[in-house]
Amino acid sequence: MSFALVVDIFIDNWQMFLRGAGITLLVAIVGTIIGSIIGLVIGVIRTIPEPEKGIKRPLLKVVNMFVGAYIEVFRGTPMMVQAMVIYYGSAIALGIQMEILEAAFLVISINTGAYMAEIVRGGIISIDKGQYEAAEAIGMTHLQTMVNVVLPQAIRNILPATGNEFIINIKDSSVLSVIGLTELFYQSKSVSGANYKYFEVFLITSVIYLIMTISVTKILRYVERRMDGAENYDILGNQMQVETPKIVGQDQKDQ
């Protein structure tokens, strides 16, 4: 093993590595976005307060039961097994022929969705009870409270956990090679299967994975900072209802 050999392998096979990385990233991004949407919807459903009577009560119970089963099943089985069952099972048992990429999107999305549902639920219950009461006091419905008050704060709070999911997806999409998805890990297996240089090939692979995950981490941190806004801010006092409010504690001449 020498450094020159590693460079040679990369120069000979860079297209394969890059294509694999592209597929990995594509599947991880689609999975995280769709998964987050699924998680958001389910998280909101699961936090609806139980109505005391009426048909809404049994209805909500049934929906919650299905949602609970979905989370248990997809959080409780490995993604590789899900891929096998969904991709081959749909063809053998139901006669549905799925494209490999479609199947990959589906598997990673519903798998992420199951995790995100719990993350979102955690984000929602972390919001102080007083805020619900305040929203109720000014006459907001549950949906209004969620959309206008709770979710904006919850989403900010679950962003680090979502970043976790994203990074896990980048790495775990490698198990989808079992259905023939030519992502980075499968491509690396192909390269090493042809040139028999395992350590060198997977060294390159690990560097590519690291570049992807570190970049995603940095970008998400940037998004978080943007969402937080400025650390210090000026209070706009406009108790006199003038047209151009002046900044409290600042001399008018400075402006």
């Binding site: 000979d12 096979n13 297209q15 394969m16 890059l18 294509r19 990385a21 592209g22 597929i23 990995t24 990233l25 594509l26 991004i29 096998m84 991709y87 081959y88 063809a91 053998i92 006669g95 022929q97 494209e99 490999i100 990429l101 090679s177 079992v178 259905i179 023939g180 030519t182 499968y186 297996k189 192909s190 390269v191 090493s192 299967g193 042809a194 040139n195 028999y196 240089k197 395992y198 350590f199 570049i211 992807m212 570190i214 970049s215 995603v216 940095k218 970008i219 940037y222």
Partner: protein
């Protein structure tokens, strides 16, 4: 005032640097994604063409401009010299479906001859080893040509054609190691030996007396890494794979056995055949095509594949 001024520009530059770094990272990610996506659209097109069902099945046949029926063959494309992945189309390699890469090797040459015999266009579908049989059952491929032996267990779920190759079992060990120079299975007493999961290579390990049988491994790459790292003393393989491993990596040594000293194998194990769906009507035509390839020719094709494989160059 001056100090504050300098401080603030320094901070400004740092901020700029950070932003620049962030932008570079974002561009890199998008570029990688673009490559992947480019590949994806390619993927969609190609697979549509290949999905044009060879057996009238009534699913999505949207690409009517395909004059020739296709013959979809599944293989790992990572088991040289039987099949491997390469970048160009050198040495008669065939393009892999949904990917800009090419597949070459003994299996590909045989697949070409069969496709010719069937009068169909050959399409190589790259599939993981464990996905080969399910893919066949799910009608995602028409045949498995992947160095697969027609074992009785496999015959329960799929059919096989006549044999298109027959090889001997060998053990690959570390050169200069304790087992370099072994000539008989008895020499492997107490050694740590493994083989690929779901292959007969793994079951024959029990024939070695006093062997320390390790848990089966997922793939040949994994076993070669384990051998190089000294986690195992050797792995059971077939001659073509062993010869390639030895020529490609100077640390490996191939141990061959005389018939009396080696593994006792069934013919169905050492032979290799084309896997087909149960009751497939392709069996007859494929056997006809295979009958046209003599044993001498088989050996020639295999020698050429060993010579042409990427690691040998």
């Amino acid at each position: 005032m001056r100090i504050i001024f300098i401080k603030s520009t320094k901070k400004g530059i740092m901020k700029l640097k950070r932003k620049l770094l962030l932008m570079i990272m974002a561009t890199l990610l998008i570029a990688t994604l673009a490559v992947g996506c480019g590949n994806t659209t390619d993927n969609g097109n190609n697979t549509n063409a290949s999905d044009n069902p060879p057996v009238a099945n009534g699913d999505n046949n949207q690409a009517p401009s395909e004059p020739k029926e296709v013959f979809r063959v599944g293989m790992e494309a990572g088991y040289a010299p039987f099949n491997w992945t390469q970048i160009g189309d050198a040495n008669g390699a065939i393009k892999i479906d949904g990917s800009p890469e090419y597949a070459g090797g003994y299996d590909v040459e045989i697949a070409k001859r069969i496709a010719e015999g069937l009068g169909r266009e050959l399409v190589i579908v790259k599939t993981d080893w464990d996905g080969l049989v399910p893919s066949l059952q799910a009608n995602k491929i028409d045949a498995i040509i992947a160095g697969m032996s027609p074992t009785a267990k496999r015959k329960e779920s799929i059919d096989f054609s006549d044999n298109y190759y027959k090889s001997d079992l060998v053990i690959v060990v570390k050169k200069g190691g304790k087992y370099d120079g072994a000539t008989s299975l008895k020499d492997f007493n107490g050694s740590k030996v493994t083989a690929q999961l779901n292959t007969f290579h793994y079951t024959v390990i029990d024939q070695i007396e006093g062997v320390n049988k390790q848990s089966a491994m997922d793939s040949f790459p994994a076993m070669r890494v384990a051998l190089e790292a000294g986690m195992i003393d050797g792995y059971v393989s077939e001659r073509p794979e062993g010869v390639s491993a030895e020529t490609a990596n100077a640390n490996f040594k191939l141990i061959e056995f005389a018939p009396a000293d080696g593994f006792i194998t069934e013919d169905e194990d050492t032979a290799i055949a084309v896997g087909l769906a149960k009751g497939s009507d392709l069996a007859g035509p494929i056997n006809d095509a295979l009958a046209g390839i003599s044993l001498d020719e088989q050996k020639q094709i295999m020698d050429k594949a060993i010579e042409n494989q990427p690691a040998a160059q």
